[in-house]
């Protein structure tokens, strides 16, 4: 493997005694989908509104993370089938309509609890241990802070857009009228004053927990164990494992379904892990080009 597993590249630059690494643990099993995080974030960070209109995607009208949305709450309506395989709601509409034909005639009584569930989850920048956006940023606008978070500096970013395609989660995006790229800063400014990030501070049910990452990981492990004990076998941690393709998330999640159901990649890999290979290929290309050029002159000179 070419990957070098340094916990958070860049952090070493703050000397031998950096601040403890902080992050988020977003426990979606207690998320009530109120979107306080979205609003609190916008209020604190002066993020402009972006009205997408009525999307019909359950109660999600803010679509996705982006330059103008640093917290985004997903809503998933599901019928859970036997064996835990579940489908999103839209398909079940069709099935339901068909079943209705039977109901109209045979009138099977409607059960109060037939496995329907409504998942909600507040997404945010993952503040990856190996952050592709940070790696590819050519200006140093994106950097690893002393808290080992990943921040875009608005006074440096020149809007080159490379980070946009580098992020395996689609977190970063360019603000159209501004040209720069924006994303969650984990409230870098607030951290300086020992304040919690705005979203975590607002979250009514503590679905968003902020703190030193090692503490959060312990808390998450305990929570997962508890949920499993209670029979929620579908609960899983996402981004907790430092052995994953981005070296673990600084902002990780407890999910109740596969990541892709929430619009998250199941196995994200920091693209820079393959950087050496990419350069090797380019080197081969360049050598081939040189050889080709040289070869074109073969026979030219006696």
């Amino acid at each position: 493997m070419t990957a070098t597993v340094i916990p958070t590249p860049g952090a070493e630059s703050y000397g031998p005694e950096p601040e403890p690494r902080v992050g988020f643990f977003t426990d979606t099993s207690v998320c009530i989908g109120c979107k306080a995080c979205e609003v609190a974030c916008k209020e604190w960070n002066d993020v402009p509104e972006e009205i997408e209109g009525f999307t019909g995607s359950s109660y999600d009208n803010s679509v996705a993370l982006g330059a103008n949305r640093w917290r985004h709450v997903a809503f998933i309506e599901q019928r859970v089938e036997v064996g835990g395989v579940s489908d999103s709601a839209p398909d079940s509409f069709v099935a339901e309509a068909a079943r209705q034909q039977l109901v109209d005639q045979g009138l099977e009584p409607h059960s109060g609890d037939d496995g329907f569930r409504w998942l909600m989850s507040s997404d945010v920048c993952k503040h990856c241990s190996e952050a592709a956006c940070l790696d590819v940023c050519p200006t140093g606008a994106i950097f690893r802070t002393e808290y080992e978070t990943v921040v875009v500096q608005e006074d440096v970013c020149n809007g080159c857009g490379y980070c946009v395609v580098a992020c395996p989660f689609g977190v970063l995006d360019q603000r159209r009228d501004d040209g720069r790229v924006w994303k969650c800063t984990l409230c870098y400014d607030r951290l300086r004053d020992d304040m919690e990030p705005a979203c975590a501070q607002a979250c009514p049910t503590d679905s968003i927990q902020f703190g030193p990452l090692d503490e959060l990981r312990e808390r998450a492990d305990r929570r997962l164990e508890r949920l499993h004990e209670r029979g929620h076998g579908e609960a899983r941690l996402y981004g907790r494992d430092t052995g994953d393709g981005v070296g673990g998330f600084g902002a990780f999640f407890l999910l109740l379904d596969e990541p892709e159901a929430y619009g998250l990649p199941p196995d994200p890999v920091a693209t820079t892990r393959k950087l050496k290979r990419n350069w090797a290929a380019a080197g081969i290309g360049a050598v081939a080009l040189a050889a080709g050029i040289a070869g074109s002159f073969l026979g030219e000179r006696g």
């Binding site: 009530i32 989908g33 997408e52 009208n61 309506e77 509409f93 339901e96 329907f116 409504w118 009514p204």
Partner: protein, 840 residues
């Protein structure tokens, strides 16, 4: 609760984490349902049947908390033999007068008590009585069977009344499977008793019905039977929807009340101070001191001018002659009787039932003052409304003068809000309001000053109250803002020498004390603003008594003596809250005991004792004349002593229990633009085959003035939509993400369609019941706009409190957008007619 009170819901989540079971009963699957252990969808408007089914389950299985019920409720009271139940009279109680359309309450009394004279109480019956006053002749029920076996005792009447509310009947009425009802009932029973308590939480989903008060009453019966009142973790929590809606009920901007739930005087019964006091005070319980509360209020308002010589200024108070609530007022506006109106932080053009009627009525006013943050629909009705759009109103024909005045925000004024737990919390001014922005305190005070100035020389009798009004509050700041603390001081009350009062027990009926709201007396005890107390929650007990101030007397849990047994011992250590400390000879515990200080549990009132002295030491319900909680309400309600299932005024279903379809005492208005849908069984009801219900979303606030105008909220729910089941969508050809038109006899509105499994069709009375869910936040103004759901609803009111039925009515829903222009009303008329021609 997660949907509309997310921050309060953190405590539910915490309880759940500790093992509490959360059951959510709601027609739609909400964010609360998503967190609940069990979601029970039921047909909107059928809750009394559902709750009655639980009552029946408790009684049939002997699951009541027997000791609690026997000791603290009126279960053993024997009722007048003339009383006849709805089971006897097919849906009516005894005393129904079809001519007057109201009940004579005489036969509902405890046996052996003289009922109130009916003379001169015509308007009273229409108005409803305030149950808080515990109107009884006095003292304990004359006939009381502690064994609860007497056939006419309340306990037995209750059994008889609810016997037919079986799980099967519940399934038939509510669409809730019998097994689910049993599961809910069993869970409640298991969660109650000495060691455990269960709580009910409700909101306007229960109140906005023609039987709204009885919904709450049914829950109260359950909670009393299970011993869940006055105990920690028990109770019935009304989750109210506005920052100070509780405060605006306590210090009422309501037509029928004076501060502290004192009734407004009525022309038919109260021509003098003594009439009024005699009629409204009780011989026993704390309402026995009603005169002291009232006289202190009059002293606060009219100061030196109020005294026994002038009958305590009784003529200064305007008198009621019936229902003057907001809906009759709107009709008065429409008829031109009301000349001017103030809208103070309220948006009736979106938020009131039949809001269309409200807009039409506003166009008949001479003048309208709207005070708000934004140009809301109620201010814009003359140039931007559906009626302007469809040509029913033309701007150039509307004579109404409109004053739109910018209001100050909560950050721009001092003052107190009373939250949903009766907790007064002070908010401090952070910045001065800019430009013309002013508080209502400023507006009312300076308006009052100007009016007084203009009437200063008047010799008219009618102007005396305004001239004699105490109206000289200290002001400060660049705008001469009256000091809110000075007003609070008047509310709290003071002795003649100006010394602040500390408790309502200090109030006197002789004029030596002044108090603007007796239940708030003590909020400035020792001259300190108790509402501004902010000792951090982490630094005090879980009851947090030093955060803000709760009325009355900073009690956080009402009737908390019921947390102890009749001997004053906690029912259980686990659930101890307030108990009798025999060594210290006093009540003690986590909270301020809700009782006469130092009165021992064994206290027996001496002969002739009055007011609270007439209550025994083991009677915790101190506001009731008999000190007991009422399973059966012998007085105080206009539509029955026991809750009974009636169909909503507009329903696609007939009442399977009784021939009486809907609440006989409900208030209806035969007025233009207030046509009613035919209800089940009437010709034309087929035109409105579905149930519709309204609700809120987390992202918006009531009629939208404080949310649709803000980008950060508007983007989260950007458009009006309706929620329907996949089955209804199939039946009506509705397309997810497309448009639907919802029709009632009043009008038609359009909404984007959300087809969702969160709305389930139910099987009701042998048919499929479809429900249409309508968030009611939208109007034509602001960043996020849409049709107003309340346009669809009629004026059909609860007879006790005159609240409109917007949580259950009938409708039709069609695919596509609604007609525009004059075609809209023609379309509605055609729809109505089609039903009449082809329907049953």
């Amino acid at each position: 609760m997660a949907e509309c009170h997310p921050v309060g819901f953190q405590w539910v989540m915490e309880a759940k984490e500790r093992g509490a079971k959360v059951i959510h009963v709601d027609p739609r699957f909400t964010r609360t349902s998503a967190m609940a252990d069990l979601h029970v969808p039921l047909r909107a408007g059928s809750d009394i049947a559902f709750l009655g089914g639980i009552v029946n389950y408790i009684l049939e299985h002997g699951r009541e908390f027997r000791e609690y019920v026997a000791a603290y409720t009126n279960a053993g009271a024997v009722i007048d033999e003339r009383f006849a139940d709805t089971e006897d009279l097919d849906g009516l109680f005894s005393g129904w007068d079809p001519e007057r359309g109201s009940y004579d309450l005489a036969s509902w009394q405890y046996e052996g008590m003289t009922p109130f004279s009916a003379a001169g109480r015509r308007d009273g019956a229409q108005l409803g009585e305030s149950a808080e006053r515990g109107q009884l002749e006095g003292g304990d029920p004359p006939h009381f069977d502690a064994t609860l076996e007497h056939p006419r005792c309340v306990f037995q009447l209750l059994r008889k009344h609810y016997r037919r509310y079986t799980p099967e009947m519940v399934e038939r009425i509510c669409g809730v499977p019998a097994a689910t009802l049993i599961e809910v009932a069993e869970t409640l029973c298991e969660s109650s008793g000495r060691e455990r308590t269960g709580a009910f939480v409700y909101s306007v989903g229960w109140t906005q019905h023609t039987v709204g008060v009885q919904y709450i009453r049914t829950a109260a019966i359950i909670q009393l039977l299970l011993g869940n009142i006055g105990r920690p973790g028990g109770g019935i929590m009304a989750l109210r929807g506005h920052a100070s809606i509780q405060g605006s009920t306590d210090i009422p901007t309501l037509f029928d009340l004076l501060p502290g739930y004192l009734p407004m005087p009525r022309a038919d019964a109260h021509q003098s101070h003594s009439d009024y006091v005699a009629d409204n005070s009780a011989a026993t319980g704390f309402w026995g001191n009603m005169e002291a509360y009232y006289v202190s209020l009059i002293k606060a308002w009219f100061g030196e001018h109020a005294g026994p010589d002038d009958d305590w200024c009784f003529d200064y108070l305007p008198k009621l002659t019936g229902n003057h609530s907001t809906y009759p007022t709107v009709l008065g506006m429409r008829e031109g009787k009301v000349k001017g109106m103030f809208c103070l932080g309220e948006n009736p053009a979106v938020g009131s039932a039949n809001s269309r009627l409200h807009r039409l009525a506003m166009a008949e006013l001479d003048w309208l003052v709207v005070r708000d943050f934004q140009e809301i629909e109620s201010a814009a009705f003359w140039h931007d409304s559906p009626e302007i759009e469809n040509g029913e109103l033309r701007t150039e024909d509307i004579a109404t003068e409109v004053f739109l005045m910018p209001a100050a925000a909560h950050t721009e004024k001092d003052g107190s809000f009373t939250n949903t737990q009766r907790l007064l919390q002070w908010h401090h001014k952070a910045v001065e309001p800019e430009d013309d922005r002013r508080s209502e305190l400023w507006f009312m005070y300076h308006l009052g000053l100007r009016i007084r100035e203009k009437l200063r020389g008047s010799r008219k009798r009618r102007d005396r109250p305004i001239r004699h009004l105490t109206w000289d509050y200290e002001t400060d700041g660049p705008h001469d803002e009256p000091r809110a603390e000075a007003v609070l001081a008047e509310i709290n009350g003071a002795r003649a020498d100006g010394a602040p009062l500390s408790s309502y027990t200090e109030l006197e009926a002789d004029g030596s004390t002044a108090c603007g709201c007796w239940i708030y007396c003590g909020c400035r005890a020792e001259g300190r603003n108790q509402a501004a107390r902010r000792r951090p929650g982490s630094e005090q007990s879980w009851v947090a008594p030093e955060w803000g101030w709760a009325w009355p007397a900073n009690r956080r849990l009402l009737y908390n003596l019921a947390s102890a047994d009749p001997d004053g011992r906690p029912w259980s250590e686990r659930k101890r809250y307030v108990w009798w400390d025999a060594e210290r000879e006093g009540w003690t515990g986590e909270d301020e005991p809700d009782f006469v200080a130092g009165r021992e549990p064994g206290y027996e009132p001496p002969e002739g004792a009055k007011a609270e002295d007439a209550l025994r030491g083991d009677e915790p319900f101190i506001m009731q004349a008999d000190g007991r909680a009422w399973l059966f309400a012998p007085a105080g309600l206009t539509d029955g002593p026991l809750p009974t299932h009636y169909e909503p005024h507009e329903s696609p279903f007939t009442n399977p229990l009784y021939a009486q379809q809907a609440n006989p005492a409900r208030e209806l208005y035969d007025a233009p633009d207030n046509d009613y849908n035919p209800t089940a069984g009437e010709p034309g009801s087929d035109a409105f085959p579905y149930v519709m219900t309204t609700y809120r979303l987390t992202e918006h606030h009531t009629a939208g003035a404080m949310s649709r105008t803000l980008g950060h909220l508007a983007e989260l729910q950007p458009e009006m939509f309706c929620e329907v089941s996949p089955q209804l969508a199939a039946e009506r050809g509705l397309e997810h993400g497309g448009w639907a038109t919802i029709v009632s006899s009043r009008t038609a509105i359009e909404a984007r369609v959300m087809v969702t499994d969160r709305i389930k069709p139910l099987r009701v009375d042998g048919r499929v019941a479809h429900q249409v869910g309508l968030p009611y936040h939208w109007g034509s103004r602001g960043i996020s706009t849409g049709d107003a759901a309340n346009d669809l609803f009629s004026l059909a009111l609860d007879p006790n409190v005159h609240i409109q039925e917007v949580k259950a009515a009938s409708c039709d829903i069609l695919a596509g957008r609604r007609p525009r222009g004059p075609e809209l009303q023609r379309f509605v008329a055609r729809h109505r007619e089609r039903g009449r021609e082809t329907g049953r």
